[in-house]
């Protein structure tokens, strides 16, 4: 077992892990941050998306020990300080960008990474950026719409219902 320390959602945390412990296991099992999900074992689905030092990373494809000394952000740390939904989260609710909710934390984390680099992405840019996030429920329509709305774009022209 090896000691690992990192900052998660602004809080310093540490724990004893094996070499093979994945970052997602550390978050879920050691820190009880179960909002980060595991949807596949080959790195395609993106349900485990977190930010490591500001970059979107699949936490099931990274060893916990590789995250030693980093700043990790998870879905649990995304809401506003008063507990209200942040802009992206609120847009997902407003535009029905989620159904079963399982891929949702990954989608929100990916959307946050996108908007950081590209504050006003086009529809095509959003769809392309979501290449590493699979949703089985929404058909992506309302996810793309929510991300456009979160970036301040007018989405009224996109068919709602």
């Amino acid at each position: 077992m090896t000691q690992v320390s990192m900052t998660v959602n602004g809080k310093s945390v540490s724990g004893e892990v094996e070499g093979r412990t994945l970052l997602v296991n550390f978050l879920r099992d050691h820190l009880s941050l179960t909002g980060t999900h595991v949807g596949c074992d080959t790195g395609q689905c993106g349900a485990c998306m977190v930010h490591v030092d500001g970059d979107a990373v699949k936490s099931c494809n990274m060893l916990a020990l590789e995250a030693d000394g980093t700043e990790v952000a998870t879905i649990e740390g995304q809401a506003n300080a008063d507990g209200s939904l942040n802009t992206i989260q609120q847009a997902f609710q407003d535009h029905h960008g989620l159904q079963c909710g399982f891929c949702t934390p990954g989608m929100v984390m990916t959307a946050a990474a996108l908007l950081k680099d590209n504050p006003k992405p086009t529809e095509a840019e959003i769809r392309h950026y979501l290449e590493g996030n699979i949703c089985r429920c929404t058909g992506y329509h309302n996810i793309v719409k929510a991300i456009m709305a979160a970036s301040g774009q007018d989405v009224n022209a996109i068919a709602a219902e």
């Binding site: 090896t2 070499g19 093979r20 699949k58 099931c60 494809n61 020990l65 590789e66 990916t110 590493g132």
Partner: protein, 263 residues
């Protein structure tokens, strides 16, 4: 996963030393290796992470104009920092995997693995790049030795990859719809002394140079120059995503598109 020891050296020398032990394996970005370990298809006694070595990271331009990329540089960094110096290469890096894969996966890891459907081997071979390791320099033409096989020795680390910058280059990737690896990817680069065409995803032998196309394009760098050229379907990969004949056909289509885009 089987358990393993983990080490994260901060210098190339320490990494080489750490890899000297039995059953030690280098870990680049882990985007292929970690899924492999999850399936218990590999059983290293020790993983030596190359992600903490500053001297292996970054993009720079050498005095001779070649672009040097540290072996531990993630694809996203290449896509961003090489854009000004070698746009064709940067564009290829920006098409690998997905954003999260590009934030972790490294050029050294990709080239060391030499997946027959990976993108980077096409850029390295298509650019006539030099693969620099802790012990030597290997020309791309000598480096790739078939599917998942390279000239690297046990414990040898790719510290840098040097790309001569062509006059024009383009990469055309036709994605396999599930994995989003290349079903066929073609990198075309036009240098003063000739054109190089490297094909990934298609062949059972891994990345290869399409010499007939190179010859034709070196005289006339237009898509038209290769409109009648085809590669043999024999030796191509045939699987549930496409037959040998289909892949052979796509090699022609993607090459013509790459030339048209580059010219």
């Amino acid at each position: 996963m089987y358990n393993f020891e983990f080490e994260r050296p901060t210098t190339i020398a320490d990494a080489v030393a750490a890899l000297g032990g039995d059953e030690a394996q280098a870990l680049g970005g882990g985007q292929t290796l970690i899924p492999t370990l999850k399936q218990r298809l590999a059983m290293p006694g020790k993983l030596v992470s190359l992600s903490g070595i500053p001297e292996m990271k970054g993009v720079c331009v050498n005095d001779d104009g070649a672009v040097s990329i540290g072996g531990g540089t993630p694809h996203a960094v290449v896509a961003r920092d090489a854009a000004q110096h070698y746009p064709g290469l940067a564009a290829l890096a920006g098409q690998i995997g997905d954003p999260a894969v590009r934030n972790r996966g490294t050029i050294g890891g990709s080239l060391a693995n030499n997946d027959p459907s990976a993108c980077y081997p096409a850029a390295a071979l298509g650019s006539g790049a030099t693969i620099v390791t802790n012990t030597r320099e290997i020309a791309a033409d000598d480096y790739f030795q078939g599917m998942f096989t390279t000239a690297l020795e046990e414990g040898e680390i790719i510290t840098e990859v040097r790309f001569p910058v062509p006059e024009a280059a383009n990469y055309q990737k036709f994605v396999q719809p599930a994995s989003r690896f290349a079903l066929v990817g073609v990198f075309v680069a036009k240098y003063a002394d000739g054109v190089r065409v490297a094909v990934t995803g298609a062949s059972e032998e891994g990345v290869f140079r399409w010499s007939a196309a190179e010859e034709a394009l070196s005289g006339n760098f237009t898509a038209d120059a290769i409109k009648d050229l085809t590669v043999e379907a024999g030796g191509m990969i045939g699987d549930l995503h496409g037959s040998k004949e289909y892949r052979a056909h796509l090699v022609g289509v993607m090459t013509r598109r790459a030339v048209a885009a580059a010219a």
